[in-house]
């Protein structure tokens, strides 16, 4: 066992994939000699050559479109969008081509492309560097959307993403790049489409993904110590495919559910999860499914991001509203009056 950071796990996954399959190509902005602004591709050009890991012109649609052409020639491009919000120029390529190609061509032309993207905030980044854009991709049929929260998953899910015959939007929570685990690599965790119960509990289920998984775990500890609530934490791991089974089974056991998502809440993944839980677990629920999300605002400047981010306190406050004393929750009524 050795201490491995999330970033190191990603780097090792890229290395192992490059070594295993000559068709894997890593490219994007500054991913070559520099090793990426977050150093995720550190040393790949030195070790595998400029042929396998290289810088491109600074144009995200071009990078994504170039990947489409290479995928048509049997390559497996792993491209990097330098930051979440800088993936938007590539949106048309991702949505209209990468996501749809297999379907458009009746299964004859798949797009085994991985779009790596540091996402979400909590690192004091200035505007356009902290967006949670997973909702746009999760809303697009044809894409897998993967949000690892642990170094082991960072490695294993990235390996699976690169081996996948379908496109994967691989969203790396930048706040977790420096998180560590005692880990021996390579490691194989559960495959795509399986959520993980990170902490068992009996009173309430917290469903979280990506950057909010550690927060949910911290909130669960505090809730247990201070309020005596036994909190289960489910890490979605992959938003698409979505693991209805694990989530619903947990909520049926606990009877209460809070969905935690860093993205702004309206129209987002958190709402989708809440709806799916309500549809499947209505008769097991002792309280409405609640969400803890970012505010419905453009991502705030660094000095205000703590107000926006769903922290432990907001999660605890929300758990407290789960009608423990059988009294209806009147928060929303109060707010509109």
């Amino acid at each position: 066992m050795s201490t491995t950071t999330f970033a190191q796990a990603l780097n090792r996954a890229l290395r192992d994939s490059l070594a295993e399959d000559d068709n894997v190509l890593v490219f994007g902005e500054d991913v070559g000699q520099l090793g990426g602004v977050f150093r995720i591709t550190d040393g790949l050009t030195a070790d595998f050559g400029e042929e396998r890991c290289f810088d491109t012109p600074l144009a995200e649609a071009g990078i994504a479109g170039f990947a489409v052409g290479l995928a048509m020639q049997g390559f497996r491009p792993v491209i990097e969008m330098q930051f979440d919000a800088f993936g938007y120029p590539a949106f048309e390529q991702v949505v209209s081509h990468i996501a749809k190609m297999r379907n458009r061509t009746q299964g004859r032309l798949g797009m085994p492309i991985v779009i790596r993207m540091p996402f979400a905030g909590g690192i004091g980044g200035v505007e356009h560097h902290c967006d949670s854009s997973e909702g746009y991709y999760a809303h697009t049929p044809g894409l897998h959307v993967v949000t690892p929260a642990t170094p082991a998953d960072a490695y294993s899910l990235l390996r699976e993403a690169i081996a996948s015959d379908d496109p994967v939007v691989f969203m790396e929570p930048k706040a977790l790049y420096w998180s560590k685990a005692e880990l021996e690599l390579p490691v194989t965790t559960e495959p795509f489409g399986r959520a993980a119960v990170r902490r068992e509990g009996t009173d309430v289920t917290l469903v979280a993904y990506g950057p909010q998984v550690p927060n949910a775990l911290r909130a669960a500890e505090v809730a247990e110590q201070e309020e005596g609530w036994s909190v289960e934490v489910v890490d979605l791991r992959t938003i698409v495919p979505f693991d209805d089974e694990t989530v619903a089974a947990s909520v049926r056991r606990t009877g209460r559910c809070v969905v935690v998502s860093e993205a702004q809440g309206f129209g987002g993944v958190g709402g989708e999860v809440a709806a799916r839980v309500a549809e499947r677990c209505f008769h097991s629920l002792a309280a409405p499914v609640l969400r803890v999300t970012g505010l419905d605002i453009p991502y705030p400047p660094p000095k205000l991001e703590h107000t926006h981010l769903p922290g432990v306190d907001r999660i605890l406050d929300t758990i407290a509203r789960l009608q423990w004393d059988d009294q209806p929750d009147t928060t929303h009524l109060a707010a509109t009056r």
Binding site: A61, G62, G69, T105, Q106
Partner: protein, 373 residues
């Protein structure tokens, strides 16, 4: 490294090898220097034949819209030389990146016409096998195929088997960002990719003057360091000669090539468009006089390569081709609702399986019988 642009610049005037009345031009020194060799009668005869068949196909497709057999059809009548010559000059290993406008080019590449018309028929999106035909799905989001062609060209160069990518695009499409990113990527990676702009002077209703101030769209290559050329797009001999030179350039490892072909769309944008709202009849009449098929016919009759027998034979062939298209397109296409779920992913997600089961149950209710996937 040369910092001059001379070696990239297009000719001052569009390259023309056949005049509008079908006689050979006296090639300018520019044309001679660039090695745009006048094609053989045999090659031109092949282009002429395919244009005759292509135009008959195009008319047939337009007719099919009137019978409701095609949802929509963007005709390329008048652009026949552009539709045929660049495609006939491709090798089998090359990849072709067409747009919605380029159905005639698809059949010129030898694709099955019914498969080629699948998108416009509305029974699926892409009806042919891109890998088997080395032809990308017809691209509707304008210019997005340009970076694909750059990537595919680069991919083929990596494989080292001598293939190249041919990317078609319209004049309007050259205003889109992806066109520029595609050119730039192709140039930076020295990809064997040939960009062929069919400047038919309109993007639906918007005239060329609203797309660009550039004296020729071919100049757009210069800023990227791409060798560029402009050609009379209604001159099949010139189109063939210039695309061949471009392919040679790309295959020799000298990087991408951009061609602007000056041509004209004689029909409306699609059957659903009313072109009288944005262009004058005399403009159409003028361009009708520059017909690429008539031009080449005059030339080939003059050289004796095209005999009345051959002409009759090809006319019959074109009729037969159209009759086959008509007959097959008049059959109701088979559509399978449950196939909607088959290719979203290689393996359907549990949620898609659930929805497929729901649709299967709905179908069963509707038909009172079991429907198989």
């Amino acid at each position: 490294m040369s910092t001059g642009v001379q070696h990239l610049l297009p000719c001052a005037e569009p390259v023309q090898l056949l005049t509008e009345d079908g006689t050979r031009t006296d090639p300018t020194s520019e044309v001679r220097e660039r090695g745009y060799a006048f094609p053989s009668d045999e090659d031109l005869l092949a282009v002429w034949r395919q244009m005759v068949i292509g135009r008959r196909f195009d008319a047939q497709a337009t007719a099919l819209t009137k019978q409701g057999r095609l949802a929509v059809y963007p005709s390329s009548r008048g652009q026949d030389a552009c539709q045929v010559a660049p495609v006939l000059a491709l090798q089998e290993q090359d990849w072709f990146f067409p747009t919605y406008r380029d159905s005639m080019a698809l059949i010129s590449r030898g694709l099955d016409p019914v498969e080629a018309l699948t998108l416009l028929r509305g029974s699926w999106h892409c009806g042919y096998d891109p890998a088997a035909t080395r032809t990308a799905p017809q691209c509707t989001p304008l210019a997005t195929q340009a970076p694909h062609a750059a990537g595919a060209g680069h991919g083929m160069a990596r494989r080292g088997e001598g293939g190249l990518a041919l990317c078609f695009i319209g004049d309007g499409g050259t205003s889109e960002g992806d066109f520029h990113e595609g050119l730039n990527f192709a140039a930076v990676f020295n990809a064997p990719t040939v960009f062929f702009v069919q400047n038919n002077r309109y993007a639906i209703s918007v005239p060329l003057a609203r797309q660009t101030k550039a004296p020729s769209l071919a100049y757009k290559g210069i800023g990227y360091g791409i060798r560029s050329e402009q050609v009379d797009g209604n001159d099949p001999a010139a189109v063939l000669a210039v695309t061949r030179a471009a392919y040679e350039h790309a295959r020799a490892g000298r990087g991408p090539f951009l061609i602007e072909a000056h041509t004209y769309r004689l029909e409306a944008h699609t059957n659903a468009d009313d072109a009288t709202r944005y262009r004058q009849a005399d403009e159409v009449t003028q361009w009708s006089g520059r017909d690429p098929i008539a031009r080449l016919r005059t030339y080939l009759v003059g050289t004796g390569a095209l005999t009345p027998e051959r002409e009759e034979q090809v006319a019959a062939e074109a009729e037969e081709y159209a009759a086959d298209v008509r007959e097959r397109m008049n059959r109701e296409p088979e559509v399978a609702p449950l196939s909607l779920f088959d290719h979203v992913y290689a393996e359907p997600t549990p949620q898609l399986r659930e929805q497929a089961a729901m649709v299967a149950a709905e179908l069963e209710d509707a038909h009172g019988s079991e429907v198989t996937a």
